[in-house]
Amino acid sequence: MSIVPKETVEVIAQSIGITNLLPEAALMLAPDVEYRVREIMQEAIKCMRHSKRTTLTASDVDGALNLRNVEPIYGFASGGPFRFRKAIGHRDLFYTDDREVDFKDVIEAPLPKAPLDTEIVCHWLAIEGVQPAIPENAPLEVIRAPAENKIHEQKDGPPIDVRLPVKHVLSRELQLYFQKIAELAMSKSNPALFKEALVSLASDSGLHPLVPYFTNFIADEVSNGLKDFRLLFNLMHIVRSLLQNPHIHIEPYLHQLMPSVVTCLVSRKLGNRFADNHWELRDFASNLVALICKRYGPVYITLQSRLTRTLVNALLDPKKALTQHYGAIRGLAALGHNIVRLLILSNLEPYLSLLQPELDAEKQKNQMKNYEAWRVYGALLRAAGLCIHDRLKIFPPLPSPSPSFLHKGKGKIINTDPHKRKLSIDSSENQSPQKRLITMDGPDGVQSQDQSGSAPMQVDNPVENDNPPQNSVQPSSSEQASDANESESRNGKVKESGRSRAITMKAILDQIWKDDLDSGRLLVKLHELYGDRILPFIPSTEMSVFL
């Protein structure tokens, strides 16, 4: 009969101390309760409307009670609307989340920040009927057909002001802006100004309409200007700025942008002069690839897989130039350690055997080729090293490291402890020797960890510069240690510490091998392939234990 059941009336009566309420009385009261509630709600809605709101709040109900000369119910006023939760198991039962608060917590809690005072902000919602693209206005959804056309369609009655379809969707300002940026990118004469332009590209909010123009421009120029190294570099910088701009939705244009970036990564020849540091460009592009995958990978599921396929094809094709291999390795490395482990490390041995003749300066007379081979080798080493470093990082700390091992501020490593603890004690014991390995060779470890943390983002700072010796040196295995030493000395880029510890390392690695662990095996394999050069990637504070 009434939506208020008589049980409700009875419960309320009990709660206010009326125990002898007759069931008939409850039955009679129920419809009236409903009527009163509805009446109050009607008035409350009026109050809400006059407060220019569309959500009913407790204060509106208070206002309605006031209107009816009823004492308001105190204690429910709050700034915002209540958040109702659904009671589990009931379709239409809701409750407010009213937690019990410990008095002590309330007292001890720091004072909340004073609420900000009301202010007025002023902006142009429209200028002569056109909404300017400024952060205060709602973002334009996509580039849409000019509004005039819509009006044209809409009006088919007699009084039409017929307007020709508008040719320029872009405002004059935006056109000028685009031209200026394009000019700067092409001219390469004014680096300071170009830097400013990049900042503007990365931060301006009204640029969305230009995105298709920029992607087009980049695609065109990359395909035409493969010989112009500076131009390519500028274009990649533009890509990066566009990616950084928080106001731009670049997703719809990624498919146009990606080929250009990948081209800059794995093209056979970038730039036409010997002096062009195309390695740097490749590194930059690889970082862009990583950035894109990281940000849009979850949205475009096929993005990463397609990219990976392209890169792996480039890597595994022995006919491709070494420069291309280098790009592919860098690209894969930028995609993350799992990719490296799955795709590079599994192919590492055959690939290194292919690379071997190129590396040997005696066999490969062409110095340029030799240099390239070493670059590739360095890239591989770095990829593998970062990968193994990453794997080792997840192992738990030693149960009882002696205080002396914790010297030289190994903050980084210690900071990662919480993750490590997740592994069982059992495994931590198993891996203790390895752990010792991990924690040795502190400075380098920290350094490489830094790299692994920031490499995908830090584009201006190509990482191999940090480890020049590793990249440009070295035969491939410990069996050839003497050769290695010779070549090192020839190249004059020797990493001394690594060499001096080589023998000890061998012993340690063998021990790990005995532990029969996946990573251990991998490490050993890497060590076999690379020799000492992998060691700087292996963080350690406890070298001394084994020395």
Binding site: M1, S2, P31, D32, E34, Y35, V37, R38, E39, Q42, K46, C47, R49, H50, S51, K52, R53, T54, T55, T57, S59, G63, N66, L67, G79, G80, P81, P115, L116, D117, T118, E119, I120, V121, C122, H123, W124, L125, A126, I127, E128, G129, V130, Q131, I134, P135, E136, N137, A138, A147, I151, Q154, K155, D156, G157, P158, P159, D161
Partner: protein, 669 residues
């Protein structure tokens, strides 16, 4: 059948019909009779027909299921009737439905009434949702008495226009099926206006289906009254047209206008220096100036609005003010469907859901906000412009910037009310603010002294809206007490009380010639009142929900009203007809404003958009429409979405710059 049974029936019947004293008498009489000699005539004792009738009478009256049966039979009959007449017959269903329901409630069959209501409410929800929501709560006879809406429904008859044939069909059906109950309800509560010929197309339903309460006849009657919708003679517009004519051919006039430009540019830059793009604006103003001149020559060819004499003693305007207004009018940008206005948006941030209303002064330099904590805050936009040049740089950092160097408030705080402030309005020169509040008072504030000057007490309930007249001095207010009142600034008692609305009066607006005010109400009507006599001169029926905003066209011929559902209606004041409904908003229309020359209507809504409507074409088209039938009635020109700001207030400045204001509200997650 023995006489005692009969007596029982009779007594029961009398009791049911409310003749309790008669029943008592009868009982006493019978009691007496039984004791004494039986002289009751017995000739009907053996009449079986009569007995049956009496018995059925008492049973029928009792039986609540008859309503359901009768109604559902009638309903299925109506739904199965011929398509041509169906919509007319269906129109009858709604009044029958609500009266059946109220009969059931009135007789105390609460449960049956509820069941009946729920099983058939779906039929009427589309058109009458709000009425149904009101009625749904009525569950006891006492509620019927108490609730105004129900009472007026019970008392009044509904007018339904119906074609002869539909009427015949209906009556035939009712008589054939002997559904006396339905027939009774229809007779009692529906007033058929039968016309000969074919039934009208269903598109005209709106009026036919609205239940007005008692005033259908009076409404028609009232709407016959004459009104003078023209502009005041010797108004500024009037003078402008004259001087405008001078200006175009005399050198003196040109020199003047140059001076004016210089003055004006100075004033502008100080007044609204806030955007930092005043240069652009100046340029635009000049351009607008040129076009305005050209356009003015055109407008003169259009027959101007008739002139009327003022019925109120109007305040004298100082020459300075007059000059500046004239200057503004001269420099007005001519707007049309191809020349759109610029919109400057004032966003209130950090309001913590407390902003109830906002108002913008005529020149856009002052903005007032009324808050639920009883305070009023007035911002001087010129000062804000000086304080921080980076006001436009984003919502996050502006707070620090405006609070800036000396950490002072950027606004003037006006305290005095003791309840949420529901409305605020600036006097035309911007030197006074009026505010109305839930504490039933209206207060007058001076923006120069930043102090409260007068407190007007008169309303008995929260005052929903207050508006200054176009010439200042007088103002109108409206309240939950169902009245609108006219006041003058120098008296603390109202000059006129306009009573007649059946529910809250939610908004009020002055006619440009000051002789009329319009009020919008929760009873879903808009009324026009004569200020001098205090009489209602027009009733506009057609909205389906509470009317929230009103605007009068500058020539005084048209009125726009916006409601809770997002519908905007354009009315012709002289005929009280809706010219066209403007559909497009999907939430409350908080604010409406006509552009200076009346060619555009701007509407601000809770759906976070400002829409511009071309109203010249819509008014012109009606003539064409009459000839070639239905054409596209929508004339929405532009929609400007804000990020997340419901638009509370709109105002076209005298130069046709559109100001809008609203409080930034975080979308509910």
């Amino acid at each position: 059948m023995d006489p005692e049974q009969i007596n029982e029936f009779v007594v029961g019947y009398l009791k049911k019909k409310g003749f309790s004293s008669a029943a008592k008498d009868l009982e006493a009489y019978h009691h007496h009779n039984n004791n004494g000699s039986s002289f009751t005539s017995t000739d009907y004792h053996n009449d079986p027909e009569l007995t049956k009738l009496i018995r059925s009478f008492s049973q029928q009256e009792d039986d609540p299921t008859r309503y359901r049966e009768g109604y559902s039979n009638l309903r299925s009959w109506a739904y199965n009737s011929l398509d041509l007449y169906k919509h007319e017959l269906l129109r009858v269903m709604y009044p029958v439905f609500i009266h059946c329901y109220m009969d059931l409630v009135g007789k105390g069959h609460t449960q049956e009434a509820r069941g009946f209501f729920n099983s058939f409410r779906r039929d009427h929800e589309m058109v009458h949702l709000r009425d149904l929501q009101k009625l749904e709560g009525v569950l006891a006879p006492s509620h019927l008495e108490e609730m105004e809406f129900a009472r007026s429904l019970r008392k009044s008859k509904v007018n339904i226009k119906i074609s002869q044939y539909s009427y015949d069909l209906l009556i035939q059906y009712l008589q054939r099926t002997k559904s006396t109950l339905m027939l009774g309800i229809i007779n009692e509560h529906i007033n058929f206006q039968v016309y000969s010929g074919q039934p009208t197309p269903s598109s005209d339903d709106i009026e036919a289906v609205t239940i007005f309460g008692s005033f259908q006849d009076t409404a028609n009657h009232i709407n016959q009254k004459e009104i003078q919708w023209g502009l005041l003679e010797d108004s500024l517009e009037d003078r402008l047209e004259k001087t405008g004519g001078l200006l175009s051919d005399s050198e003196k006039g040109q020199g003047e206008s140059k001076d004016g430009d210089a003055d004006d540019s100075k004033k502008r830059s100080t007044e609204i220096g806030k955007q930092g793009s005043s240069l652009k604006k100046l340029k635009k103003d000049k351009a607008g100036n040129a076009t305005a001149k050209v356009a003015r020559l055109e407008t003169i060819t259009v027959p101007p609005a008739p002139r009327v004499k003022p019925e109120l003693a109007l305040p004298v305007m100082s020459t300075d003010v007059e000059q500046s207004i004239l200057e503004d009018l001269r420099n007005r940008v001519q707007l049309s469907s191809v020349a759109m206005p610029s919109v400057s948006f004032y966003t209130f941030v950090n309001t913590h859901n407390g902003l109830n209303c906002s108002s913008i002064s005529h020149d856009g330099s002052l903005v007032a906000g009324g808050f639920s904590d009883s305070s009023i805050k007035v911002w001087d936009m010129a000062k804000i412009g000086q304080a921080g040049s980076g006001v436009l740089q984003g919502e996050n950092d502006t707070n620090d910037q405006i609070m800036g160097p000396n950490g002072r408030r950027s606004y003037t705080l006006l305290l005095g009310h003791s309840g949420p402030v529901y409305s605020a309005t600036f006097s035309p020169p911007g030197d006074f603010v009026l505010s109305s509040s839930a504490d039933t008072t209206i207060r007058l504030w001076s923006t120069k002294l930043n102090a409260n000057l007068v407190c007007y007490k008169g309303h008995n309930y929260p005052v929903w809206d207050v508006q200054f007249s176009p010439f200042g001095h007088y103002f109108a207010s409206c309240s939950h007490d169902r009245t609108a009142r006219i006041w003058s600034m120098d008296r603390i008692q109202p000059l006129r009380i306009m009573a007649g609305h059946l529910s809250d009066v939610d908004c009020v607006q002055w006619h440009p010639n000051c002789n009329y005010i319009a009020t919008g109400s929760s009873d879903k009507t808009v009324r026009l009142w004569d200020v001098q006599t205090g009489e209602c001169v027009r009733i506009f029926v057609g909205h389906r929900s509470m009317v929230l905003s009103l605007a009068m066209s500058p020539d005084g011929r048209y009125m726009a009203s916006g409601d809770e559902d997002g519908t905007i209606m354009m009315w012709d004041l002289s005929t009280a007809r809706c010219i066209t409904p403007l559909m497009g908003h999907n939430s409350c229309v908080w604010s409406l404003s006509y552009s200076g020359e009346g060619s555009l209507l701007a509407s601000g809504s809770a759906d976070c958009t400002v829409k511009l409507w071309d109203v010249t074409s819509s008014t012109k088209l009606t003539k064409a429409e009459a000839k070639n039938g239905n054409t596209n009635r929508l004339r929405s020109l532009r929609t400007f979405p804000t990020k997340s700001t419901p638009v509370h207030a709109l105002r076209f400045s005298r130069r046709n710059l559109l100001f809008a204001a609203g409080a930034l509200s975080k979308p509910a997650s």
